[in-house]
Symmetry: C2
Subunit: 335 residues, 2 copies
Amino acid sequence: MTTIKEIAKIAHVSGATVSRVINNSPHVKDETRKKVLETIEKLNYQPNSLARGMRLKKTNTIGLLLANTTNPFYAEIAQAVVDIASKYNYTVILCITNNDSQIQKKHIKILQQKKVDGFLFASVLLKDPPVRELIETGAPNVLFNRIFSSNENINYVVQDNELGTYMAVEHLIKNGHKRIAFINGYLNFSTFKQRLNGYLKALKEYNINYDKELVVAGGNNEEKAFEATQKLLSLEQLPTAIVCSNDSMALSSLEALNLSNLKVPEDISLMGFHDIDIAKHKLIQLSTVSINKYLMAEIATKSLIQIIEGDHSEATPIQIVLKPQLIIRKSCGCC
Amino acid sequence: MTTIKEIAKIAHVSGATVSRVINNSPHVKDETRKKVLETIEKLNYQPNSLARGMRLKKTNTIGLLLANTTNPFYAEIAQAVVDIASKYNYTVILCITNNDSQIQKKHIKILQQKKVDGFLFASVLLKDPPVRELIETGAPNVLFNRIFSSNENINYVVQDNELGTYMAVEHLIKNGHKRIAFINGYLNFSTFKQRLNGYLKALKEYNINYDKELVVAGGNNEEKAFEATQKLLSLEQLPTAIVCSNDSMALSSLEALNLSNLKVPEDISLMGFHDIDIAKHKLIQLSTVSINKYLMAEIATKSLIQIIEGDHSEATPIQIVLKPQLIIRKSCGCC
DNA sequence: TTGTACGCGTTATCAT
DNA sequence: ATGATAACGCGTACAA
């Protein structure tokens, strides 16, 4: 591997001068600059990022921690983060936490040792001691998608999940539904908790009694949502609409409904959350709440880079809440 | 940031001894080891990976280059690679190439500068000069999923794509189909090229005339597949079955068929390739060729780590071809 | 404008 | 068993 010294020797200059050329220092005679650049080209010299990182205390690397990439939601987030980071000349180390706080702790430690310039968390838990500890070290960081239970002085970029389900439920109510079921997600994720809140809030504001039976646990996977739907179908008085905490669960719910020979939306209305790709398919046509994952991840990444590069005053935390959008398709039967 | 030297000073030993403790050298008295470990604990010391990397010429980092993560296929691959790498104590830098050879070249350069221990390519093109150049440098590398047009002395782990479509078409033939259409993908990806070959091979072996009209370009995106299907439906004599180069295209094809009031599988049979998640949904039930992405990525990652760690004789390249599996659901109308 | 010399944090070699 | 020291490749303060 060729080094700065070899370039220096061959170009008959000192290492310092080569370094100056590489870093575009103005204090270099045009003639020598040219000479150096030529030998750099000739030997195909590549500066060693490790050595640079050590000297400059900057690696141009950020750590991205998320639950998994098999979920299309996080997959798109990963895409956005890598896209944007690359645009700003940063590289991304991808860490998968599986929603496990202990695994996340391990990854944080490794990222610290690798001297990443900043941390991006897409899926923290409501309580997440390892993340809080990291934040206390003062390392640049941004949380997005999910946040903590209390968030003063925390940088975050999130969607208004509560507003999302509120709008969905409101839409159903305005179209005559009164018996609206809700399939919950894991409530130690802030996102799911807020979606439940949105459901409750809409009922309250429109003076509809909250019926405990109509809120069932869908867990985080599709199987659970399937069972949850069956549970709803076993009630004496069926709901006229089902709102799911996300689209994957809505698809499972749809399966369960089909299996019971209930037609959507003729017999029962259905709504999801996320607007994943398949939701718009002719055979599905799922009404849902669209949240702009790409934009959210983009803003989070840009914010982190701003913090890293000192372009943001540390006094005020970055706290951004994006508005979701209602996507009305066939499955809610309102159009 | 605390360093080895500070630990040394406080523990009243030399930096060398601290280093020995960290690296579990046996040549250190139990008593001193304990003393050192305690101060490491107390100061929450973290070894600096940059400095280590510089000394050891090893970063425990691998570069993963793939087209994108919005495609669920690559998303699952990314998951597998990160999972396995983490298990072996490696970290993954994720690079997105968008199937663009020039962008890939840029990423390769950055990864070289960051001194990654090895390279994993999930989506090379048939001709891909930047990748070939890298391989010639002798850097540890494994190609998987796609490969080059000529592959002597190249490490790769792939699926037998040709066999995949061969099996699909054979299955249709054996169930009485004679007029089978094929929706192509981009032919400068080895995977798509091989799938076309499998189609042609099956026709030949079963003495079915190759009708040029029945093979249409589906490009790489869903829109193209939609149009391709419409093109097929405008033929004088309709096909009785359509085989698509992947599942996403099959879903678009399905939309086009529905739009023309053709029922699957009653009026026309349909098959895909990949077995993405949604394929098994009650409303879709797409017959397809399943390829084990996770296993493929797992083997590729393990192989790369073997190469990095010198556990593999360089004399013989790693060349593994996995067998796909036929998944028969409702859409082909054979069950 | 250019060169010399040092330090970033670690590990390996050599000596004790 | 332990310590002193050089080396990894780079950037920079200082000197010239």
